[in-house]
Every structure is written in structure tokens, then in C-alpha cells.
């Protein structure tokens, strides 16, 4: 089943082309890694697909429905979740409360009187804490977490929404290299357990090789190569402009 499709998606910031007539599709069950140099347009493309930015031309579809003009919250409700390069947390809430707020987002019911904890399914919250390894930190304020844990919580909040597709923007950036693989193992296991299709932006070739079934290389606002990891990494243009090995 096709989850995401874009048609001739274009956006320029002044003279800089950040999305150059992009035709793209993503199917259920894929684990897509997006690679590319800084400024290639990877995050901008995510921002367009999730409603944060509007393209100057072109269309975006999610599960066959056009979402080009929809706001982020409407797109999220359709089942497209995302996490952020800089984790977007509620820093004055505890880890558990962050997940409870996410669960409120899923149910959409805003009680004015019963406590937050009583308004959500605690089994779901506990399960998410378990699969993301955050159970021990559940009572801590989100602001007290280290960068790796913040990344996990950022993804965990999106997971509580039970998305069909989860887009993760650099889930291991800013994390010590020895932590990277652990975080990705945890995240991928959590996604696999819930059968969530994933799309992540990543710079580390080892991480991409280990976890992606498909790679798309972004260069100057366009997809320069798209296919199996081995094929994309063998592409001369990708080697020259993305990997810097040629």
C-alpha cells in the first residue's frame, strides 16, 4: 500500500531551490533512510510532507488523500507522525506526562476536571515507556534527560499516536557515537513491534546500512539516487557529493 506520494513538489527560498519538482513515493513496510549534505533539503521535504511548510507547486498525498493544504495536526490525525532533529518536548512535564499528553492527542478528548493520568490508557503509556527504555525515567522532568533520552522521548511521543508512518529527523544527531546504535536498535524494535513504517534522516552510513531497506540521497533539493542501500552507496554522484569518498 502506498503511504506517501508527492507530485512535482517544488519550493524555493529566494534563489535557493530546496525542493526541485520532487516525485517520490513510500510504501507500507519500508524503512527508508534519507541521506544528504546539510542544506540539501531533507528536513524541508519532511516539513512540506507534514504540513509545516506549504510548497509553491506540486501535491502531497498520504494514503491516497491529498494533504498539501492541511495543517500538521490534521495530517497527524491521518496517521503521519514525526519526531524532530531538535527534540520537541514539554520540558516542564515529566516523561510520563509527555506521553500522557501525546495520548490525549490521540484520543482528542480534553477533560477539564479529571486528572490527566486518569484521562488516558495507562497501559499504552507504560508499554511505550517499556519499548523505548524510558520506564526508569518516567517520573523525571523531561528537561532532566540527556540528549539520547530526549531523542527517545521525542519518538516515543509520536509512537503513542499509533501512526501508520513515522518520520524521524536525525534521531541520532547530537548523540555520542557509542550511543547511536543502541538508540536505533531501541527505536527500530519499537517500530517493528507496532508495524510502523519508518522514514529517517541519517548521516551515519553504518546506521543506514544496518537499519534501512531503502535509501534516498538528497542533493540540492532533488533525489539524486533512490534504491537499495548498496545501489545508492555505489552511485558516483552520491559518493562524490554526499559521502565525500570519491
Amino acid at each position: 500500500m502506498e503511504l506517501v506520494r508527492t507530485e512535482k513538489l517544488a519550493l524555493r527560498f529566494g534563489g535557493v531551490v530546496v525542493a526541485d519538482d520532487i516525485d517520490f513515493s513510500l510504501h507500507e513496510g519500508e524503512r527508508l533512510a534519507v541521506i544528504g549534505a546539510n542544506g540539501a533539503g531533507k528536513t524541508t521535504f519532511i516539513n512540506i510532507c507534514t504540513g509545516f511548510l506549504k510548497p509553491q507547486s506540486g501535491k502531497v498525498f498520504f494514503t491516497g488523500q491529498e494533504i498539501t493544504a492541511l495543517s500538521p495536526r490534521h495530517i497527524v490525525r491521518l496517521g503521519l507522525g514525526r519526531s524532530f532533529q531538535l527534540p520537541q518536548l514539554f520540558l516542564e512535564h515529566t516523561v510520563r506526562q509527555c506521553l500522557e499528553l501525546a495520548a490525549i492527542g490521540r484520543s482528542g478528548s480534553l477533560s477539564f476536571f479529571s486528572p490527566l493520568a486518569a484521562s488516558v490508557d495507562q497501559k499504552e503509556v507504560d508499554h511505550t515507556l517499556d519499548v523505548t527504555g524510558l520506564r526508569d525515567r518516567a517520573g523525571e522532568l523531561a528537561s532532566s534527560l540527556g540528549e539520547g533520552e530526549r531523542k527517545l522521548l521525542d519518538v516515543a511521543m509520536a509512537l503513542v499516536l499509533k501512526p501508520k508512518l513515522l518520520i524521524m529527523d536525525e534521531p541520532t544527531s547530537g548523540v555520542a557515537s557509542e550511543e547511536k546504535h543502541g538508540i536505533m536498535e531501541t527505536l527500530m524494535a519499537a517500530l517493528a513491534e507496532r508495524k510502523v513504517t519508518s522514514w529517517f534522516v541519517e548521516h551515519d552510513v553504518d546506521v543506514v546500512t544496518r537499519h534501512a531497506t531503502r535509501v534516498a540521497a538528497w542533493i540540492a533539493g532533488r533525489i539524486a539516487a533512490d534504491g537499495k542501500p548498496s545501489e545508492v552507496f555505489a552511485d558516483p554522484e552520491v559518493q562524490r557529493q554526499v559521502l565525500g569518498t570519491h
Binding site: 520540558l91 516542564e92 501525546a102 490525549i104 480534553l110 477533560s111 476536571f113 490527566l116 484521562s119 532532566s144
Partner: protein, 323 residues
């Protein structure tokens, strides 16, 4: 436990002092009215928004009471209060649709601008509003009973105290509810709320309406107590006082608004009596001291909620930078 103890001690002190020293009833009622209004402002502060024009809702409710009391002299005081609150809620619901589109300084100044428009309109339309002289509100019955001046004040004290305790408790429940916690989420990460499928505007609108209703209640009670409403009830200085009290008490707990109001009233009362020329200096010095010693307000110093152990200033600034 501490909250219950403070509530019982505070409410008992209001009643006992009011009965033992009749002259103190009026300042106590005024203090409770300020507390209710500051509670409304504190709701918005939970979302990181400060309104410098919320006294307009006290004014709207006050004039509603005055107009109704003049048109229907036999109307009971409780009905007048309800009418005042309903009008302020309706006004906040309407105005809120517009102002919740803005944040921070724009939110604060827009509220201020609207309150000053109301202030000017009330001052200019003398035939209808009584201009700057305002409108008199004759003493009404309370719950069907007609009282002399002393009894009327006692009845108002009881009504105000019951409202303050009941609404203080309810607002604290609201703070811990899904709607209240998402409102607090606006302060730290509005973007994330949207990416959880929630409408930050809708959440803020809910808080804004609630806040307008609370300030309206204070205005309706004020009108009945003073027996007079003037445009001054909605002047920006009054809005500033509500903000002052909310900051003084802190928005971490509903109790903060009433603690702040008590401190404000004590300084105002005794400052005006013993330091007539410099009592506002005392107010300013108190606020500076609170900001320096307890940036979360007086309640931030008390072990009332988990938020008293909130993140440090540096971490919040870093987070703001990220967002």
C-alpha cells in the same frame, strides 16, 4: 495537606476577622475579588501568556450588574452575579476567537488595547453609561434576604469566600486535567502540541474564556460591594494589578492568586495607613524581592506541586532557543 491547611486557615481568618472587626469585611472581600481575578490571569500565565487588559471583563460584568439592577430593581444579588459572569464569559468567548491567534507581547498589548477601547466607550457615552461618574448599584437582596449594610457585607463576604474556595479548588483540578496540562504545554512547546494533533489555539481559547469568567465574577462582586461601577474598573492599571498579584503569588498553584492578593491587600492597607506617600514604592520593592528570591512567586517557595521543582532558568532558555 499543606494546601488544605492553608485554605482552612485562610478562609477561617477571613470569616473570623470579618465578624470580629466589621471594618475589615470590605478589604477582605476586595482582596478575595482580586484573588479571583488574579486566578483568571494565572490561568493564562500557565500558557506563558500575560494579559494587560483583563480588567475589561471585570468591567463588562460590573456594568452588566449595574444595568440589570437599574432595569430590574428586585433582582436578587446572586442572579446579578450569575448574569455578570455569563456576560463576561460570552465576551471572552467572542474576543478570545481573535486574541488567541497572537502570543506573548502581541497577546498582552492586544488585550490592553481592547480594554482601553472599552474604557473610552464607557467614559464617552454618558447618557447610557453615566460617563466617568459611572452607575450606582442599589443594594439588592442576597438569596432572597434583604440586609442592612452590615448584614449585606457579611452576606457578600460569605458568597465571595465560598466562590473563592470553590473556584480555587476547581481551577486547581483544571490545572491537573488534560485541558489544563495541554494549556501548560503551550508555554513550553506549542509546535509539539500541533504535532500531537491538538489545536493550541483551541486550548488557549478554552483557558481564555475560563479566565475571562473568573475576572468577570470578581467584577460582579465588586460592583455589588461598592454600589458603584465606573470605567476605572476596566482601566489598564487595574489589569496591571491583577498581573502583579498573579506574579506575586505564582501560577504554580491556584492558591497563589489568593496568597498574592492577601499580600497585596496587606501592603496596600497598611502601607497607605503608615507610609502614605510611599506605599506604591513598597509594592514595587516587594515585587522586585519576589522576582529575585522566588521567580515562581510565593507558591514557588512552598512544596505544593511538582512544578516547584521545575527546570532551571538556563534549561528553559535553551529549550526556548531550540523551539
Amino acid at each position: 495537606m499543606l494546601v488544605r491547611a492553608l485554605t482552612v486557615v485562610g478562609a477561617s481568618a477571613c470569616l473570623v476577622l470579618g465578624l470580629l472587626f466589621p471594618w475589615i469585611k470590605t478589604p477582605v472581600i476586595i482582596g478575595l475579588c482580586y484573588g479571583l481575578a488574579a486566578l483568571g490571569v494565572a490561568i493564562l500565565m500557565r500558557a506563558g501568556q500575560v494579559s494587560f487588559g483583563h480588567a475589561m471583563y471585570a468591567c463588562i460584568a460590573g456594568y452588566t450588574v449595574a444595568f440589570l439592577a437599574r432595569a430590574f430593581p428586585t433582582l436578587d444579588g446572586l442572579i446579578l452575579i450569575v448574569a455578570g459572569v455569563v456576560t463576561s464569559l460570552a465576551s471572552a468567548a467572542l474576543i478570545g476567537l481573535f486574541v488567541v491567534r497572537y502570543r506573548e507581547i502581541f497577546f498582552g498589548m492586544l488585550n490592553l488595547a481592547l480594554s482601553m477601547v472599552l474604557f473610552s466607550v464607557l467614559g464617552k457615552f454618558y447618557e447610557v453609561t453615566g460617563g466617568t461618574d459611572g452607575l450606582r448599584v442599589d443594594r439588592s437582596t442576597i438569596a432572597g434576604f434583604a440586609f442592612d449594610r452590615a448584614g449585606y457585607e457579611t452576606a457578600l463576604l460569605v458568597v465571595t469566600l465560598v466562590a473563592a474556595v470553590g473556584l480555587g479548588w476547581s481551577v486547581q483540578r483544571f490545572f491537573g486535567s488534560a485541558a489544563g496540562e495541554t494549556l501548560a504545554g503551550i508555554k513550553t512547546n506549542e509546535t509539539r502540541l500541533e504535532y500531537l494533533g491538538l489545536s493550541a489555539r483551541r486550548i488557549l481559547w478554552n483557558g481564555y474564556v475560563l479566565s475571562g469568567g473568573l475576572v468577570g465574577l470578581s467584577g460582579a462582586l465588586f460592583a455589588l460591594l461598592q454600589g458603584l461601577v465606573t470605567p476605572e474598573l476596566g482601566y489598564w492599571v487595574r489589569s496591571g494589578e491583577f498581573v502583579f498579584i498573579a506574579i506575586l503569588g505564582g501560577a504554580a498553584h491556584a492558591l497563589g492568586a489568593f496568597i498574592g492578593a492577601a499580600v497585596f491587600q496587606v501592603i496596600q492597607l497598611f502601607g497607605a495607613a503608615f507610609f502614605a506617600g510611599v506605599w506604591k514604592l513598597l509594592l514595587g520593592a516587594t515585587l522586585i524581592a519576589v522576582i529575585l528570591v522566588a521567580p515562581s512567586g510565593i507558591t514557588g517557595l512552598l512544596p505544593l506541586t511538582r512544578r516547584s521543582k521545575g527546570p532551571g532558568k538556563l534549561e528553559l532558555q535553551t529549550a526556548a532557543g531550540r523551539a
